[in-house]
């Protein structure tokens, strides 16, 4: 089992409030990602779960047991750090053995030399060896066991760090940006490996990242945190399609969502620029933010009441897609539009284009940045 519940967690360093009354329930076997811009408190939250940091108020429950007063080492959690934090003076094998030795040997057996006289030590050593061998085979690091961490590449160190976490078979894994020290290609590769590992271990993963792509690709649920507040906790697709607030919409998705200034008239009819959405907002007579993702805008030849025009300022070619950074004609916005290469390859910087929106995909937010729903009328 590996359920973790956080109840009303707050944390402040001096007068700075870092976490603001958070409530999260993490299910057994779940891959939960804590995602947010740097400084949002996600790492602090992870360290509170781990027991490396004490919360100012609130409760941490692991398997429904309150662990507020339980030390980090006794919570039966394993953590993978951004810098891997392998013991630099020990071989890979000893690095993997360390958590097991500390757990299995008693104080006498850990003594150098005379510890070997304990009758039960031999048996324990054997089981430790077996676990280390099993883990290193799973992670394909068997041939690295006799090396020191300094002799390994970034990816190999990453695996060893994972291995050190795995050998103990903990109730949950905590990962603090484990991929951010790897190069881009390896990072993408490790994403899929981590997902596979999660599938085969079926243990709870709590994963902290500032990279929303990692959150979207790997997690079963993602928790978006900004400024110490938990803004949304849901499945990745749901967070992407249905962000609860303007900040979440802007944080999740790359390139960033386009925000237009719009208004709802007395009947709730929404319009922005020269475009009329022909749909009604639940809030009337107010200014609104209208969010449309780059893939929901198209470059078109038509020019009618559903299109608006602008000049291409910058053209970002990714091969599979081309993103056009467009200055809207009235000068109010700079927006990003996705184009398919086969239709738009001839468009260059400085050319003026007409842009059409894909209907039914706009998101509404009020002045406070909260989501506003459409009404069906």
């Amino acid at each position: 089992m590996g359920t973790i519940s956080l109840k009303n967690i707050s944390k402040s360093f001096g007068s700075t409030q870092v976490l603001n009354n958070l409530n999260v329930d993490i299910n057994d076997g779940e891959f939960l990602t804590l995602v947010g811009p740097s400084g949002c408190g996600k790492s602090t939250l992870l360290r509170i779960i781990a027991g490396l940091e004490q919360q100012t108020s609130g409760d941490v429950l692991i398997d429904n047991k309150n662990v507020n007063r339980v030390r980090a080492s006794e919570r039966d959690l394993a953590m993978v750090f951004q810098s891997y934090a392998l013991y630099p003076h020990l071989t890979v094998r000893r690095n993997l053995e360390t958590p097991l030795r500390l757990r299995d040997y008693n104080a006498f057996e850990r003594l150098p030399l005379i510890g070997n006289f304990s009758p039960s030590k031999k048996e324990k050593t054997e089981s430790i060896n077996q676990l280390v061998n099993k883990t290193s085979e799973t992670l394909k690091i068997s041939e690295l066991l006799d090396r020191k961490p300094g002799q390994l590449s970034g990816g190999q160190r990453q695996r060893v760090a994972l291995g050190r976490a795995m050998v103990r078979e903990p109730v949950a894994f905590l990962m603090d940006e484990p991929l951010s020290n790897l190069d881009a290609a390896l990072r993408v590769h490790m994403r899929s490996e981590l997902s596979e590992l999660h599938n085969s271990l079926k243990t709870t993963f709590v994963y902290v990242t500032h990279d929303q792509a990692e959150a979207l690709t790997m997690s079963s649920r993602m928790a978006v945190m900004i400024d110490g507040n938990l803004l949304q906790l849901d499945k990745p697709q749901e967070v992407y399609d249905n962000p609860s607030s303007l900040s979440v919409a802007q944080f999740v998705g790359s390139p960033k969502i386009n925000i237009f200034k719009g208004t709802a008239d007395s009947s709730g009819m929404i319009s922005f620029l020269n475009v009329n959405l022909k749909r009604k907002s639940s809030e009337s007579n107010t200014d609104l933010h209208i969010g449309i993702r780059p893939e929901h805008l198209e470059i078109t030849n038509e020019s009618n009441e559903n299109t608006f025009s602008g000049t291409v300022a910058y053209r970002e070619n990714l091969g599979s897609d081309i993103f056009f950074h467009v200055n809207i004609e009235d000068g109010s916005n700079k927006i990003i539009v996705r184009g398919l290469p086969q239709f738009t390859h001839q468009i260059s910087n400085g050319s003026s284009v007409n842009i059409k929106r894909v209907s039914d995909k706009a998101l509404l937010f009020n002045q406070a940045g909260m989501r506003v729903q459409f009404t069906n009328a």
Binding site: L52, A72, M79, F81, Q82, L86, T98, G150, R157
Partner: protein, 297 residues
């Protein structure tokens, strides 16, 4: 490289070589004098090792040895007589006992202190650290008298304890190790905590091995200082010759009937200096190899 660069490098080397000669010259004199006869030393002749003529040494005869025993080559005589005249092995052993005890206890005290000052958060930490810095400013000689009086009151004068106890807490060691521990990533300590280590286990099993280079630097400092220390042993070892450390032992060659026999004196100094130089060379190799924190980032 171009010729110009060679000339630039040449200048640097020339200056360094001159510096090296200035530093090495006393050592050269010491070794040379420990090999030559008294006449050669006094007339400043004979180059590095002298003529090495077999001769009978008058001071030896005066001390009470037979003329036959006292007839040999100067280098043999100098070293033989140095060992005959004073129990040099005993002095060396005292030196080893004292310096090693001091160093080991210094490490036992300084490492946990440095760890606490560098990595633990507790009320008053900055104050304690500023006290450490403050203690760095106190000269040993300023507190020598009170220290001596305290040891005398405790009845410890003329014991190993008197030589060791005052030096067991090294604020310099605490400061040096604290500065090094500041550079050890917090994540390594957190990882050790997650693995189940207590704070003391972290100090000895994680911090100590990563701090080997800094510790060696401190070892060189501490061992050299206390091996060569003359001032303090001179104060607290008042009568018991069995407790003499090497610098006190060399003093045996001063004064008396054979007041100015430099050969055996220099021979004893060479014997006292060599262990340090050997230890330094060994440590230096380890020092350069050092365990780095490359495994971390």
């Amino acid at each position: 490289m171009e010729a110009k660069q060679y000339i630039g490098e040449g200048w640097k080397h020339a200056i360094l070589i001159i510096g090296a000669i200035v530093v090495m010259l006393p050592f050269y004199m010491m070794v040379s004098m420990s090999l030559k006869s008294q006449q050669e030393i006094q007339s400043i002749s004979g180059g590095l090792i002298g003529a090495q003529e077999t001769q009978t040494f008058p001071v030896c005869v005066k001390t009470g040895y037979s003329e036959e025993t006292c007839t040999m080559k100067p280098y043999q005589y100098n070293y033989w007589f140095a060992f005959e005249k004073a129990p040099i092995p005993r002095y060396l052993m005292n030196g080893v006992i004292v310096t090693l005890s001091i160093f080991i206890i210094q490490v036992l005290v300084a490492l946990p202190c440095a760890y606490a000052l560098a990595k633990l958060r507790f009320y008053g930490r900055e104050f304690v650290f500023s006290m450490v810095l403050f203690c760095l400013l106190i000269p040993v000689h300023g507190i020598a008298l009170p220290l001596y009086v305290m040891l005398a009151q405790a009845g410890l004068v003329d014991t190993y304890s008197a030589l060791i106890l005052p030096w067991t807490i090294s604020v310099f060691g605490i400061f040096l190790m604290r500065q090094f521990f500041m550079t050890v990533p917090d994540e390594l300590i957190d990882a050790a905590r997650m693995d189940g280590m207590g704070e003391y286990a972290i100090v000895w099993k994680v911090m100590l091995p990563t701090a080997i280079p800094a510790l060696l630097a401190f070892a060189i400092f501490s061992v050299v200082a206390h091996w060569n220390d003359y001032f303090w042993p001179r104060m607290v070892i008042t009568g018991n010759r069995d407790l003499f450390t090497p610098p006190l032992g060399i003093r045996e060659f001063r004064g008396g009937i054979d007041s100015d026999e430099f050969g055996p004196m220099m021979a004893s100094i060479v014997t006292v200096t060599v262990p340090l130089i050997v230890a330094f060379i060994i440590a230096q190799k380890r020092f350069i190899e050092g365990i780095t924190l490359t495994g971390m980032k």
